[in-house]
């Protein structure tokens, strides 16, 4: 036991010495912990490391430690846990929808307070308003967009052709989508469906995203900008859910039960589902693996062809030194420059949230080669922010549960949404 103690002490001592050496080397340097999630395939950590190395070469006084922290959920968990323990990261990429949670925990600084020079203002004005919207509340801008996405419709042109539809004429309204779905749905001799018309992911974590689009298409919105009210009992919202449920129940063009986000691309690529609503980030994957001709289309409308925005923003944390905060702001500006965002978009499939980025050589070359990527850009003015309120994780889960209850037939859409509204009201009451 003594041996262990001694070794433990030794270990601790070595750690201390290393720490001191490290600190003395970094003398007069500002150190930043930068947490980021990886949500897409590919050597993303290498790409980020590359950007950071470039940033440090340009800013010798700043030392950034990029820390890959799992998926969005893990990263939020890590950042909040660290902040509560008094050791927050200086900067982190977290979900845009986390904004109220982070404000309520009082762990983030509004990012607009760092915007001082004209150059800063020009930088801020370069972001697309649709993407900034979800970060604006209480009169401040709390984060800036970085790895943003939006959902589009992928459709199987071959299936459309087989069913006698014009493959270039994608469905533009809800009714069109049902009609096209009916046309392409195929059954085998025993009456089991072998090819479905449409798949919209209804699993926990995805359904609120898809439903946000459906509601917006029907001219409704799910919540207010302050994140204190939800409008789930709005007849237009109920109608949107009824439409989703009826895709399967009444029209038989959508698989029964919950359609999984994770397996949706595989379903599409296997020809099992002819239209899927999925992230633009999937374009590369689908282009590489599709054995048939496919198309990318904006969402249909009823009548408003709205989509929904997702993805992560930069947040700057409290409880760090002023030098660190300034350095973090510098890093955020660097990583959201047109060139980096353009490169990031090409490398990962995210949607660059700045008009300037789309005008760079990198992205114009890319869209020339892959015009499908432009569908996302065209759709952005029609897109709404993802569902987001105070206590967001909990309200989102309640909405997820309500959607699942309706989609699996446990409750009617009306009842499911009314129950969810009651639950959410209980939670949000204290924020009004």
């Amino acid at each position: 036991m003594h041996i262990i103690k001694r070794n433990l002490l030794k270990l601790a001592a070595t750690g201390l010495v290393l720490g001191v050496v490290g600190a003395s080397q970094a003398f007069a340097q500002t150190k930043l912990d930068f947490y980021y999630p990886v949500q897409v395939g590919g050597p993303v950590t290498k790409v980020i490391d590359g950007y950071v190395a470039k940033f440090m070469a340009e800013n010798p006084g700043i030392q950034v430690a990029p820390i890959y922290s799992g998926n969005y959920n893990d990263t939020t968990t890590k950042a909040l846990t660290a902040a509560k323990a008094g050791t927050p990261p200086a900067i982190a990429v977290l979900l845009a929808t986390d904004v109220f949670t982070l404000i309520d925990e009082d762990v983030v600084e509004p990012i607009d307070q760092f915007v001082k020079t004209d150059e800063d203002k020009a930088w801020l004005d370069g972001f697309m308003p649709a993407y900034l919207k979800s970060a604006q509340t209480e009169g401040h801008l709390w984060s800036v967009p970085f790895q943003r996405s939006t959902a589009v419709m992928y459709y199987n042109k071959q299936a459309f052709k087989d069913a006698g539809l014009d493959p270039e004429n994608y469905p533009k309204t809800w009714d069109d989508m049902v009609a096209a779905g009916k046309a392409v749905t195929q059954k085998d001799a025993s009456g089991n469906t072998t090819r479905w018309g449409i798949g919209i992911a209804g699993n926990v974590g995805s359904s609120q995203w898809m439903f946000g689009a459906l509601a917006a298409q029907n001219g409704a919105r799910l919540m207010n900008d302050e994140g204190t009210e939800t409008y789930l009992t709005d007849p237009k919202v109920v109608e949107a859910l009824q439409y989703w449920v009826d895709l399967s129940k009444k029209n038989g063009v959508h698989p029964q039960g919950i359609f999984e986000w994770g397996t949706a691309p595989a379903d599409f690529l296997a020809g099992r589902v002819s239209m899927i609503w999925h992230t633009t980030g999937n374009l590369t994957n689908i282009r590489k693996n599709a054995t048939f001709d496919f198309g990318v289309a904006p969402f249909p409308g009823h009548p408003n062809p709205a989509s929904t925005l997702g993805g992560g923003n930069f947040y700057i944390f409290k409880d760090t030194s002023d030098e660190q905060k300034q350095a973090a702001f510098k890093l955020a500006k660097f990583l959201t420059s047109d060139e980096i965002l353009a490169d990031w978009a090409v490398q990962t499939g995210y949607v660059a949230p700045r008009d300037g980025a789309w005008k760079t050589q990198t992205l114009t070359d890319y869209t020339a080669e892959e015009p499908n990527a432009l569908v996302a850009l065209k759709q952005i003015p029609n897109a709404v922010p993802e569902f987001s309120t105070h206590e967001n994780a909990r309200t989102t889960k309640i909405l997820n549960d309500a959607l699942a209850a309706a989609l699996t037939g446990n409750k009617t859409p009306e009842k499911a949404l009314a129950d969810a509204q009651t639950e959410i009201d209980k939670i949000l009451k204290q924020y009004r």
């Binding site: 323990a85 986000w261 992230t279």
Partner: protein
């Protein structure tokens, strides 16, 4: 290891055993199949698709797996070594030096057996931050260094060792430490090996706690590294996920295949019951 008098299995038993074995191994077989084939949709299951190593090279390019292995190896070694020592000492105390209240202490240890460190994540993280041990391999291992399971197991084994052996050693003039090292530890070797297997496979696969405490490539174990490929924003890419899975389980799997006879025999002799 099969004794002469164990009955020869009938054909039906053998077939049943084989069928069950096939079902049990099939996820791994699928993983092998998918990892060595191009990613063109695992859903189009074609046995004769061309073989490729590309998935592995992609995985290795995307993450420093050799470093993750080293971290896992260091973590597991640290935990195993400390657990063996700490639990041996405690078990020895419970068996050979009972005092007023040690029964209650043992009950407390047993309660810990049911309390998973996972539950106490928030509090333990706070403790580690206070100790300044976040993002260190030592910190990752610390909450697990005393294992109630180990104490319980070793105590059972020590209790089964005949008192006469201990007495004989004492008559020869051995002190308490010598008795432990010369009598108890050698006789408990099978238990140590059995416990070692359990603890190694547990910590090799542990995920939640390492995820929360580690921040950097220098400390992150393989399971956390593996999470890169399991992300589903773009849907699951089974080819790469399975390749990464195989990479991360390979060392343990190979070790088990090589040493399984010894493992099972030590379990046999450990008398875990």
């Amino acid at each position: 290891m099969t004794s002469v008098s164990t009955p020869k299995a009938g054909i039906i038993t053998t077939l049943g055993a084989w069928l069950l074995a096939f079902i049990w191994i099939s996820p791994l077989l699928f993983a092998f199949w998918a990892a060595f084939h191009p990613a063109t949709g695992a859903s189009s299951f074609d046995l004769f698709a061309p073989l490729t190593l590309e998935n592995f090279s992609q995985v290795l390019a995307a993450a420093p797996f050799p470093r993750y292995f080293l971290n896992t190896f260091l973590l597991v070694s640290l935990i195993l070594a400390c657990q063996l020592v700490v639990c041996t000492l405690a078990a020895y105390a419970f068996v050979c030096f009972p005092f007023r209240g040690s029964g209650i202490l043992f009950m407390l240890v047993l309660i810990q057996l049911m309390i998973m460190p996972e539950i106490l994540l928030v509090e333990n993280y706070r403790t580690l931050a206070n100790l300044g041990l976040r993002d260190t391999i030592l910190g990752m291992g610390l909450p697990y260094l005393a294992s109630a399971f180990g104490i319980f197991l070793f105590r059972q084994t020590f209790k089964s060792i005949p008192k006469e052996l201990e007495e004989a050693a004492r008559l020869e003039g051995a002190n308490a430490f010598q008795i432990l090292m010369r009598v108890f530890v050698p006789l408990a070797k099978p238990t140590y090996i059995a416990f070692g297997l359990v603890t190694v496979s547990y910590h090799w696969n542990n995920f939640l706690w390492p995820l929360v405490v580690t921040n950097s490539v220098e400390t992150r174990p393989t399971t956390v590294g593996l999470q890169v490929f399991a992300t589903v924003e773009q849907g699951v890419d089974w080819a790469r996920v399975t390749a990464a899975t195989l990479l991360s389980v390979a060392p343990l799997l190979v070790a088990f295949i090589l040493f399984q006879r010894q493992f099972v025999q030590s379990f046999m002799r450990a008398g875990i019951r």
